[in-house]
Structure formats: structure tokens, C-alpha cells
């Protein structure tokens, strides 16, 4: 007699159930050995039966016990659906299957608030998917050949001055610069967005840096990567390839000691500095690196002992956007001799336009970009309630910011970079094109990059165990055993190849509208099949 009560937690309560075919299983042990979550284990199963094999009822009790793979019943070892078992099984005997009857949201909370990585699960519907590139130039303004024509795919990072603000003097037929202008870098319109050393494994982070350098040096794509708030590796700070990296400073200020100390040894300036005020996935919350991922090298780079590393929700000592411009922008501009752009990143929110307006009024002209991050942005470890229930869709917010600048004739002066869910459906180029047409100068993208490295997480609750330190792909963990699962070259190569495809797809969208440079603000190129979206964004409605 089995002793089970109705309140016992069983695999039926979990978001993923293991589907297992014992008749295909040879007990090779691969699935259990590969499962980082320890969610499955071999056990002996009783196969006893009373059978009758004669032509009349003659009961014979037959006993057999055989080993099988069983899913564990405890919440701590619940299957996350990563599917490594399925991947490694030579006989297709095992696989996780989504369980529509999951009671996990209740059970997991009974043990405390749920933390997880990934992206929002509840707000995965995307405005961008109801927008189509609807204006295809044909006769009136000839389109270009996407594959054979040349395109100027560059966006500014840095404060762009209006023509009449440029410090020029006319000397005969020449214009002579009479004063300093803010630094502006013309870069590729996609920035590999801030995932920290710590959130990512060393190999994953290095793969991003490697792909960035390769795209710059081998494929003429000046993509920049933002470091994230977990500091920087000294070796990269001292390398010429630092020029591809935007350094991030966030409320935790992790790793800045090593960055400052490396200043005299830098062979080149970094690509810029990004001041992170907030992120779309968990606005109003600071960064969070669970202790499980604070390995010795992370402790060294960040300068803290093993603990849950919680960045404060705000920059201590900053109380207004004006003060932020004064203190953070000024100091970080000054630290690098006013030679590199300093930008700011905020979570999209009801107040984004006010913040942008304030920045536009900056009399010092030292704000080199406004980055807004929407609710569909990713995170390595957030409280699920923040991830799913706080934030702001980025598309209309970007549009509002852009139009606010247009109304003042100030568009293009502080570049708008937007992100949060870019590439969620797999096609980042289409997303980028639409965002550009709505007024973005470029986009920031992150989760798609780790997905290209091999991350299997998605918006429907698969894996998303970035907070546990048990990442099965070696991307979001600091466990050297798991990190070793990640092929840095193959991962970086995937990103490079994706970006090459991205580039050609972006051209494929640029060409039909006849733009050989980026169509920033060309909202006439878009139509929406959703009337509300069309009205809100001020684009044509089509059906």
C-alpha cells in the first residue's frame, strides 16, 4: 500500500513532467548524469503481477523489479524543462513535457518568493508584431538593391549638436572648428546589452566580447557591447579591443575600482559609459546576483565576499535627473577626459518622456544617449512578481520620447536607444527596423545573444533558471563544471553569423523604402493592423 496523501507534492504539480518510455531505455545513465537540476533519478520499479497463463484461471504471482528513470517529487528539484535529458538520450526515451495543470506558482511561493531569470512570461504579446513595413517604394522613390547596393548603417552614440550650435568659424572657403564638440561615435544600430560578469559565465561573457571584436575587425560591423554592472576583466581593460566596450556603472558600482586603476594602462578609450538607472525586466529594483553565482573570480572582480549581491534600487546620492546629469554624467565624462560618450539607461516608465525632456535641456551637453528598456527585457535573477507584473511596454514609450523631441525640434540630439524583447520572435532585424522608423537611433539586445550561445530559455517558462547557478548550458553559471559545457568559439560564431544575417535582413528592409541610411523616424514606412496601436503610435492603420 502506497502512503500518499492528497496534499503530498507530486510531479503532477510541476510545470514540467518527464515523459519516459522505459521500453526504450537502456539505463545508460546519460539523462540523470546530465541533469543539472537533479530533477530525475534512477530507481527500482516493482513490476509484480498476478497473471494467469493457463486456459483456466490459475493465478501465478510474477515478480520483477527493473530500474527506471523517475522524476523527483520535491519542489527543490522540480524539472525546469531545459530538455538536456532529451538532448543526451540516445534512444528518445525521455523528454520534459509542459504540464498545463501545474500548481507550481502556488507551491513554489509556499517556500518563499519566486526568483527566476528569463523574460516576462505574462506580457509576451508584442506591439511590434502588429506593425508591418507597409510602405514599399516602387515607382515613386525607387527602392534599392539590398544585396548589391551599399548602405550606411550607422547610428550615433553621443551628444549630437544642432548645426547652429557647432563651434565653427568661416575662414575664406573653409569652416574652422573653434571649440570642442561632444564626442559622438557612429556605431552599428544594435548594442549588445549589459549582461554582467557574474550573471553570465566567464565564457559566455567572453564569447560576447569576442563576437563583438570579430564583427568589428572582420566584418566591418561596428557593434558595441555594454559591460553590464559586474565590472570588467583587467585583461580587456588593458587591451586595444576595449574600444568596442561600453562600460556600465550601476547603483552597485561593482568592479569600478579595477576600471579606475586600469586607466593609466588603457591603450584606448572604451566606447562609452552607460549609467544604468533601471532595467525593464525589474524596474524599481536593483541588480541581483544570487550567492550561488558569486564564485571567487566574481568576488575578486566585484570586490565583495560571497553573498546575495543586491544593487540598491537607486543610485544612492542621486535624487533627481538634473542631479544625475550633474554628478554621474559630469564625473564619468571627466574621468575619460570628455573624450567618450556617456549615456543613461532607464526602465521605460510613465515618466520616461519627462526624463528625456530633462535630459534634452541639459545645458552642458554631456548626455550622450537615452536608453529605455521595456518590460520584455530580460534578467538573470529577478523576483518573478517584478518580472511579470512591473514595467512598461517600450514601443509607445520610445515613440512618445521621439515625438516629444520632434515637437521641440530637438530630435536626434540625444540619441534614443531602446530595447526589451528585441528579437524575441527570432528576427531582430525586423524589430530594429520598426524601432528605427518609430524614432529609435538604435536598439539594445541581450537575451537573444545568450540564446544564440545555446540558452534554451523562453517566454513560456522553459528553463529560465538563470538565478540558480545551475544553468545547463554553462551560460548563466559560475560553476566551472557547467561553464565547461559552453564552446566559446561556437557560441561566438553563432552570434557573428546571426549578426551577418541580421545585417542583410536589415538591408532587405532598408532597400524597399529606398533608404540607404537608417530611416530614423520614418514612421510613414509602417502600418499597423491594430487600430489602437496605429492611433497611439501615429502610424497608418491598415487591414
Amino acid at each position: 500500500m502506497e502512503s500518499v496523501t492528497t496534499q503530498d507534492v507530486t510531479r503532477n504539480d510541476f510545470p514540467w513532467k518527464i515523459s519516459y518510455h522505459p521500453e526504450r531505455c537502456t539505463m545508460c545513465g546519460s539523462c540523470t548524469a546530465a541533469c543539472t537540476f537533479n530533477a530525475i533519478a534512477p530507481v527500482m520499479a516493482r513490476r509484480d503481477l498476478t497473471v494467469s497463463r493457463k486456459s483456466f484461471p490459475e493465478p501465478v504471482r510474477e515478480h520483477m523489479a527493473r530500474p527506471v528513470i523517475a522524476q523527483k517529487n520535491d519542489v527543490d528539484n522540480a524539472c525546469v524543462g531545459c530538455g538536456m535529458c532529451e538532448k543526451v538520450c540516445p534512444n528518445q526515451a525521455i523528454a520534459p513535457v509542459r504540464n498545463p495543470d501545474s500548481r507550481f506558482p502556488l507551491l513554489a511561493r509556499a517556500q518563499g518568493p519566486v526568483k527566476r531569470g528569463g523574460r516576462t512570461n505574462l506580457n509576451a504579446q508584442r506591439t511590434l508584431d502588429s506593425i508591418i513595413v507597409g510602405r514599399i517604394s516602387q515607382m515613386t522613390d525607387p527602392s534599392l538593391d539590398s544585396e548589391r547596393h551599399t548602405f550606411d548603417i550607422r547610428s550615433p552614440l553621443g551628444r549630437v549638436l544642432k548645426a547652429d550650435e557647432l563651434p565653427f568659424r568661416v575662414e575664406g572657403d573653409n569652416l574652422v572648428l573653434t571649440g570642442a564638440t561632444p564626442p559622438v561615435h557612429w556605431i552599428y544600430p544594435a548594442i549588445f546589452s549589459d549582461m554582467s560578469i557574474g550573471a553570465l559565465s566567464t565564457r559566455a561573457w567572453e564569447a560576447l566580447a569576442l563576437a563583438t571584436a570579430c564583427l568589428n575587425e572582420k566584418h566591418d560591423m561596428p557593434v558595441r557591447m555594454c559591460s553590464g554592472e559586474g565590472g570588467m576583466p583587467i585583461k580587456l581593460l588593458e587591451s586595444p579591443q576595449l574600444k568596442y566596450v561600453i562600460l556600465q556603472i550601476a547603483s552597485g558600482h561593482f568592479g569600478w575600482n579595477r576600471i579606475i586603476k586600469a586607466l593609466p594602462k588603457m591603450k584606448t578609450d572604451p566606447a562609452g559609459v552607460l549609467i544604468k538607472i533601471g532595467q525593464g525586466a525589474k524596474p524599481g529594483d536593483g541588480g541581483l546576483l544570487p550567492a550561488a553565482k558569486v564564485a571567487p573570480h566574481i568576488q575578486a572582480i566585484r570586490g565583495v565576499p560571497k553573498a546575495d549581491l543586491l544593487s540598491p534600487p537607486n543610485h544612492q546620492g542621486l535624487y533627481s535627473i538634473e542631479e544625475s546629469v550633474q554628478k554621474m554624467h559630469l564625473s564619468l565624462n571627466a574621468a575619460f577626459g570628455f573624450r567618450i560618450p556617456v549615456a543613461i539607461k532607464c526602465a521605460a516608465s510613465a515618466t520616461s518622456v519627462s526624463v528625456y525632456n530633462n535630459l534634452l535641456r541639459d545645458p552642458y551637453k554631456i548626455c550622450g544617449g537615452f536608453f529605455i528598456d521595456g518590460i520584455q527585457g530580460g534578467t538573470g535573477a529577478a523576483n518573478e512578481v517584478s518580472l511579470d507584473h512591473t514595467g512598461h511596454p517600450v514601443v509607445s514609450k520610445l515613440r512618445d520620447c521621439y515625438l516629444a523631441a520632434v515637437m521641440q525640434g530637438l530630435q536626434g540630439q540625444i540619441p534614443l536607444w531602446a530595447g526589451g524583447g528585441i528579437g524575441m520572435t527570432g528576427n531582430a532585424a525586423a524589430d530594429v527596423f520598426k524601432m528605427l522608423c518609430l524614432g529609435a537611433n538604435g536598439v539594445i539586445m541581450a537575451k537573444i545573444l545568450i540564446q544564440l550561445l545555446g540558452c534554451v530559455g523562453n517566454e513560456r517558462g522553459r528553463c529560465n533558471a538563470c538565478s540558480t547557478g545551475k544553468c545547463p548550458t554553462g551560460i548563466c553559471t559560475q560553476d566551472p563544471r557547467l561553464v565547461r559545457r559552453l564552446d566559446i568559439d561556437r557560441g561566438a560564431e553563432n552570434i557573428v553569423r546571426y549578426m551577418l544575417a541580421f545585417d542583410s535582413e536589415l538591408r532587405k528592409l532598408l532597400a524597399p523604402v529606398g533608404n540607404s541610411s537608417l530611416p530614423v523616424g520614418r514612421s510613414d514606412a509602417l502600418v499597423s493592423t491594430d487600430k489602437a496601436v496605429a492611433d497611439k503610435l501615429g502610424i497608418q492603420y491598415a487591414c
Binding site: 545513465g29 543539472t36 533519478a41 504471482r61 565564457r203 567572453e206 580587456l236 561553464v483 559545457r485 564552446d487
Partner: protein, 765 residues
């Protein structure tokens, strides 16, 4: 020769009128035309003479697309310049423009020759092709072409002579040859930056031979033979050709491994803080890279039988010895824990070992109790040499005698002082005779005496005697048990008979008088004993009451019920009268005799000194001592089963021995094996089958926590990582080879005993 003047009397012929006129003339057989055009389009093609004759058009002031779709055998000579699309889709004609040509001259030309005596506009020569059925098209320009020329060119030969424009930044304008996939462009003069899919190279002899020949005809056609020498400086020429399909990149990304090796920070950017050789492991790994590793935790955890036995008898070890055929050792082993395997384990003990037996969840507990009886008559030799120390034990019950037995085996001289006239304590005095074979008890007492223990009976100990014994012994053990009955002060309580006194009287053979109706208060095992005693002494009806659910074992209750006894609960007593017991609810339970069995307290008044107590009971220290060199055992500490007293007797003996040797006694910590580690599925359920004899029950024993040497792990390991090794000092061990093991946990999954444990591999960070 047909001369057509397109403007007459201030009226201009439309393109349509002109073309229809020309068409009609060609149809009539006209072959020579002189056309003074006024911007009419499409002059010159597609037209042909029915007899295959040559058509010649001399044209001035044409409109767009002069010579478009021009057929072979057609010659068009434009005097002066022509606007856009000269020779568009030229299919074989010879078209000469002596002046400049507009945009897209030669666009899509696939045959014939086009000569431009000046320059040509933007996108000239774009999409030229070469149909292999015909000669390649030629497109000659004396000066330069506009931007985007030769875009998407797929074949043919173009020549841009750069006459008079060597100072231009580019004689091909901006972005020439974009998307060019075939053909060749010969060019003399500066060329702006070309796309990587075309190649700019020097001429070879073949090129020069072709150019030299063609140049003569071109210059003659445009009447510039004077330029012959200046244009024939072949060193000034280059040619542009497209990369072959095979030579193109086709979206090939650079190898990141090569890039990392050649152009990246050596050793990786984290090499100062994190050592990484960048090798890649698959999902399966061995050795240090396994996620988990198995550990053979043999006998690390107690089986449930051992764990729940207050005397910690490791019955799984006894069954393992039996399985190996080592019957003697199996029987002897129990004597290391108790001198009463026959009297207690095999007879009166409720056997908590069997109650907790893993096998109980499968079918029926392994027959551990019965195994005890097998050891009733086993003799063991005294192994230890005499220590010269003398230990006195006050109380000859199971607790004291167990301590005596253990201490004697350790080599100490032991004397047991018993107040009663015989040794045995409650086994002798209280346990109903029918539950315990006296011969077994006598035999086991004799075995203790044979071990060299001195029995002193009829020796009640008072304070004075206690002092005397303390002086006379190196250590003293207090094991006088609980003999003071607990009775509540209900009205009429003086009528109550103490159960312990009643049972003692029965056992002494005094045959106490018992009326017809007896009430027993307390439904524990002692209550059932009292009820049984009452029936044995002649009672007709016995009612047992309790305030809670009867605590006696089911078979004890069943025994009393079988005799006709009734158990009532919950019942609270208000008063005892001569009629019987009146409950709190005012109900009378008739009975002439009321026996109470709700426990006994110890009498420790003989210990004169201050000792730590809780109510009537002693509280010993962790080393079982209550005073310097005085240790407490059994019911003086806490009321319990006989086996509790046996357990504490052994512990006190170990504690006393440690104390005598000047060592610190640390009680053994028992850890029970976790139930989920055991795999009972391998055991067939005993379906109505006969249970074996206890000594043969080793097959059913799961051997929880201790390896039963079944080799399930050895034969299940998919990597053949497990090895069984005989140990030199006897016994065996199982080892898992880290170099083979992948950490799958199958060994732990199939091990019935829960001996293999999967542990997280060592912390690599």
C-alpha cells in the same frame, strides 16, 4: 535613302508617327534612312529587312532609347549626342553616338556594339549580359561614365577610355560595378573604390590584343583616329572583372577559433582570475567534471531495526552474517548488546525493531524477535583480561544485569546486589509466567553468572549500605528500577490494589485472592498483564479503562479480549466505592477489586547525597553518571520498556568502563538510513507464503544501510565503473572508479540497501 524631317510646317511628328513611317518604309524594302529627329524615342529598332539586307540609320537629335532592341544588321549613327538609354537591350546592332550619351547607355545590352564618342551618364552599361549563342556585346566610351555604371553587369565587354578626364576622381563615377557578376570593364584612369566582389587587375596579352583591334574600329567610328597613340599606352589601362562564384564569401563568417587564437587577448580576458583551457565538455563527463559522484556509505547509517531498538541491536548485520552462512557469529553478535536475547528479544519485548522494519512496508517484518531466541543458549568466552577494578551494581533487573554482563566481558570484577531473593527484576517478579519461559530466563541469568558476575540476593540497599558500597567498589551502578506504584488520590483510593504488587504476588506463587469482577485502571501492557493475572487468579469479568486510547500492543489487547475482558476508553475516574468505580460521568462500573497500572516510580531515597532529579526520577549527565563514579540505568531514569533498560545498561557499562580508564564517554550517535534511499521493489511481496524460520529470513531482510553484497550496482553500472574488492582483514568493499563513472546515480538507484549515495562533486570554484 529615305530622308525624314520630323518637323514640317511647324508640326512635329510624334514618336508613334515617326516609328510607323519608318516601319512602313522598312516593310517596303527601304534600307537607308536619314532622320532629322526632334526627340522621338526608340529610333532604330527592332527592325529588319525581309531579304536580310543591312539597315542604316543616320540620326540627329534623337530622343531616348535610340537603338533600343536593335537587331543585327542594323547600324545607327547618331550625329552629336543622344539622351538616356542608348542601345537599351541592344540585340546585335552597331550604334555609334559621336557625342555624349545620356544615362543608362548600353543598359541590358546583350549583343552588338555601342560606341560613344563622348561620355555616358549614370548607370551606363548596367545589367549588360552575354548570350553565349552570339558574340559578346561591346560598349565603348571615349571619355567617362557616370556613377553606378556597370551595376549588376553580367557579361560583355565595356571600355572606358578616360580621354580628357584623367584628372577626375573616378572615370567610372561613384560606386561602379556594384553587384557585377560577369563580363569585363576595361578602364583607363582613376577608379573610385570598388566592392570586394570585383577585382581590378592589369591587362594580359590577350586583353591588349583585343583592345588594340577594337580600338582601331572604335576610333574610326567616332572619327578620333588622332587619339590612337595616346590611348594605346596599355600600362595606363586596368580591367575590372567579377570574382567567380566560387571565389565569393557567400556569407561565410570568420572562424572564431582562429580569430581568438590570432587576434584576441592571449589566454582569454579572464585568465588572471579564472583558469580556463577552453576545452569543451559534452553533457556527460567523468572524474572531476561529473556533476555528482557516488559514495559507498556502507554501515554509515543504522537500519530502522537498529535505530529503533533502544539497545541498538544491529539486526541487519546478524542477517548479513546468516546470509553468508556465518550462523555462530550471527548468534553471538547480539550478546554484544544484550544478555537477554531469549528472554527479552525472543519473548517479552514488543520488538520495536520489527515494528519499524522496512520489510513491514512490503509484507511482514523480518523475524528479528525469533532470531533472539536462537541466541538464548549461546555461550561466549570472556575475552578481556581482568582489569583489577570492581564495579558494584545495585539492582538485579535487566538494566543492572546488562551493565554487569558488559562490564564483566570487559574484564572488570562485578557484583550485583539484588533486594529480592532471586535475580531478574521484573522479568522474574512481574512478567506473567506464561509470557516468559522460566528456563530461558534461568539460562540467560546463568550465562551472566558464568561470565564471572557475582550475584548477591536479599540485599536491600539503604543509605548506609549505599555509602558502604560506594567505598567498596571502584564504580557503582544504580539500577533499582521503579517499584513504587503511582496512584491518584481519588476518593476511595485506599481500596486500589497496585498492579505491580499484584503481579509480583502472582509470580511469587502467592495466588492472591481475586473477586469475580475486577477493574483495571490503565490499558498499557502492564494493564493487560494485570488483567491476565486477574483471570488466571479466578476473575470472571475484567474491565480495563483508560483516559486515552489503550497503549498496549494489539496482540496483548486481543489476548485479554479473548479471555472475555473489556476495554473502555476514554473513561475518567471520579471515585472508588465498595461497588466499584464511578466514572466522572457518574456511571458505575461494578467491580470488587480495582487494580491500577499507570506506572511506577523509583525509590532512590537510599542515595543520601544531592542528585539531579525530575520529580522522582534521576537525571544523569551525558556520561550516565549521577555522582562521581556512580551511574544510573533503566527505570530510575525514566519509565520504559525492558529493552530501554538493556540499552541504558549497556551505555552505563561503557560509560563506567571509560570512567574507570580515565577516558571521556561519548555516547554513540545513531543516524537512521533515509527511507527513500531503500529500494524495496527488488523484493517480491510474500503473498500468503509461509514465512521462513528466523534464521532463514535473511533473504527477506533488506539490509538497510549495510551492503548485502547483492552486486546489483556492479551489474547495473552502465560504465562498468564499479569494482568489488575483498579486503585483507576480511570483508569487502565496493569502489567506483572516477575515471569511468559519469555520475548517473544508477548504483544508488538500484542499491536495495541505500548504501550508495550520490553527492555533489567537490566545489570546483
Amino acid at each position: 535613302m529615305l530622308r525624314l524631317n520630323t518637323v514640317q510646317n511647324n508640326t512635329r511628328l510624334s514618336t508613334q508617327e515617326l516609328l510607323l513611317t519608318i516601319g512602313a518604309a522598312v516593310e517596303r524594302g527601304e534600307t537607308d534612312f536619314y532622320i532629322e529627329a526632334s526627340g522621338q524615342h526608340d529610333i532604330g529598332g527592332p527592325l529588319w529587312n525581309r531579304d536580310g539586307g543591312k539597315l542604316t540609320f543616320r540620326v540627329v537629335n534623337p530622343g531616348q532609347r535610340v537603338g533600343c532592341m536593335c537587331m543585327a544588321n542594323t547600324e545607327i549613327l547618331v550625329e552629336g549626342s543622344a539622351p538616356a538609354d542608348v542601345g537599351w537591350l541592344n540585340a546585335g546592332g552597331r550604334i555609334v553616338v559621336s557625342g555624349d550619351a545620356g544615362d543608362t547607355a548600353g543598359h541590358c545590352a546583350a549583343a552588338g556594339v555601342i560606341y560613344i564618342g563622348g561620355s555616358a551618364g549614370a548607370r551606363s552599361g548596367s545589367l549588360m549580359k552575354h548570350d553565349p549563342l552570339y558574340e559578346a556585346p561591346e560598349f565603348w566610351v571615349l571619355e567617362h561614365v557616370g556613377s553606378f555604371s556597370f551595376e549588376f553587369m553580367g557579361g560583355g565587354k565595356a571600355v572606358v577610355c578616360g580621354h580628357n578626364c584623367q584628372d577626375m576622381p573616378s572615370v567610372l563615377g561613384e560606386r561602379p560595378c556594384v553587384g557585377m557578376v560577369g563580363g569585363v570593364v576595361y578602364v583607363r584612369g582613376p577608379v573610385s573604390q570598388l566592392r570586394p566582389d570585383v577585382r581590378l587587375s592589369r591587362l594580359n596579352d590577350e586583353d591588349i590584343a583585343w583592345l588594340a583591334g577594337g580600338m582601331e574600329q572604335f576610333l574610326a567610328a567616332v572619327n578620333r583616329a588622332d587619339l590612337r597613340d595616346s590611348l594605346r599606352v596599355w600600362g595606363q589601362w586596368r580591367k575590372i572583372t567579377a570574382l567567380a562564384y566560387e571565389e565569393r564569401a557567400h556569407g561565410r563568417a570568420v572562424s572564431l577559433a582562429e580569430f581568438r587564437a590570432g587576434q584576441w587577448v592571449g589566454g582569454g580576458i579572464f585568465s588572471d582570475v579564472f583558469s580556463d583551457d577552453f576545452r569543451v565538455n559534452g553533457l556527460l563527463a567523468r572524474g572531476d567534471y561529473r556533476l555528482r559522484a557516488p559514495v559507498w556509505e556502507n554501515a554509515l547509517h543504522a537500519a530502522p531495526c537498529e535505530f529503533s531498538c533502544p539497545a541498538s541491536i544491529p539486526s541487519q548485520r546478524r542477517f548479513n552474517l546468516l546470509r553468508e552462512g556465518r550462523v555462530d557469529e550471527a548468534c553471538r553478535l547480539v550478546l554484544d548488546f544484550t544478555p537477554f536475547p531469549g528472554s527479552v528479544c525472543g519473548a517479552v519485548c514488543p520488538n520495536p525493531c520489527m515494528e519499524s522494519c522496512t520489510r513491514a512496508g512490503v509484507d511482514h517484518p523480518v523475524l528479528i524477535g525469533g532470531l533472539g531466541s536462537l541466541s538464548a543458549n549461546i555461550r561466549v568466552e570472556k575475552e578481556a583480561a581482568p582489569s583489577g577494578r570492581h564495579v558494584g551494581i545495585i539492582g538485579g533487573g535487566v538494566g543492572g544485569l546488562t551493565a554487569a554482563w558488559q562490564l564483566a566481558r570487559m574484564g572488570h570484577a562485578v557484583t550485583v546486589y539484588e533486594a529480592d531473593r532471586v535475580m531478574g527484576g521484573k522479568l522474574e517478579q512481574v512478567i506473567p509466567r506464561q509470557r516468559l519461559n522460566r528456563h530461558v530466563l534461568r539460562g540467560e541469568l546463568q550465562r551472566i553468572e558464568d561470565m564471572g558476575v557475582t550475584f548477591v540476593t536479599d540485599c536491600a540497599v539503604d543509605a548506609e549500605k549505599f555509602g558502604e558500597l560506594r567505598k567498596g567498589h571502584d564504580a557503582l551502578i544504580v539500577a533499582t528500577g521503579g517499584h513504587v506504584p503511582r496512584i491518584f488520590p481519588w476518593p476511595g483510593h485506599e481500596r486500589i490494589t497496585a498492579g505491580i504488587d499484584f503481579l509480583k504476588a502472582v509470580n511469587r506463587g502467592e495466588k492472591p485472592e481475586v473477586p469475580e469482577n475486577v477493574i483495571v485502571i490503565g490499558c498499557g501492557n502492564a494493564g493487560m498483564d494485570a488483567a491476565a493475572g486477574a483471570y488466571a487468579m479466578g476473575a470472571r469479568r475484567v474491565v480495563c479503562i483508560d483516559v486515552q486510547k489503550p497503549a498496549a500492543f494489539a496482540h496483548e489487547i486481543a489476548h485479554i479480549q479473548g479471555l472475555g475482558g473489556k476495554l473502555l476508553w476514554p473513561v475518567r475516574t471520579r471515585e472508588i466505592t465498595d461497588k466499584g468505580l464511578i466514572t466522572e460521568d457518574g456511571v458505575l462500573i461494578p467491580g470488587e477489586m480495582v487494580i491500577i497500572t499507570i506506572g511506577e516510580a523509583p525509590d532512590i531515597s537510599y542515595i543520601g547525597e544531592e542528585v539531579k532529579k525530575f520529580r522522582d526520577w534521576l537525571i544523569p549527565g551525558e556520561d550516565m553518571s549521577i555522582l562521581e563514579g556512580v551511574f544510573a540505568v533503566g527505570d530510575v531514569i525514566k519509565p520504559g520498556l525492558l529493552v530501554h533498560a538493556i540499552g541504558s545498561g549497556r551505555q552505563a557499562a561503557l560509560a563506567a568502563d571509560a570512567w574507570l580508564r580515565g577516558e571521556k564517554y561519548v555516547p554513540e550517535a545513531k543516524k537512521a538510513v533515509a527511507g527513500e534511499r531503500l529500494r524495496t521493489a527488488s523484493f517480491a511481496r510474500c503473498h500468503g507464503c509461509d514465512l521462513p524460520r528466523p534464521q532463514d529470513d535473511f533473504a527477506r531482510c533488506v539490509s538497510c544501510g549495510t551492503c548485502r553484497d547483492c552486486k546489483m550496482c556492479l551489474k547495473s553500472c552502465p560504465e562498468q565503473a564499479i569494482e568489488r574488492k575483498d579486503l585483507e582483514k576480511g570483508g569487502f568493499e565496493y569502489l567506483s572508479d572516477p575515471e569511468r563513472c559519469i555520475g548517473c546515480g544508477i548504483c544508488a538507484g538500484v542499491c536495495p540497501c541505500g548504501v550508495w549515495a550520490m553527492q555533489a562533486n567537490w566545489d570546483m570554484s
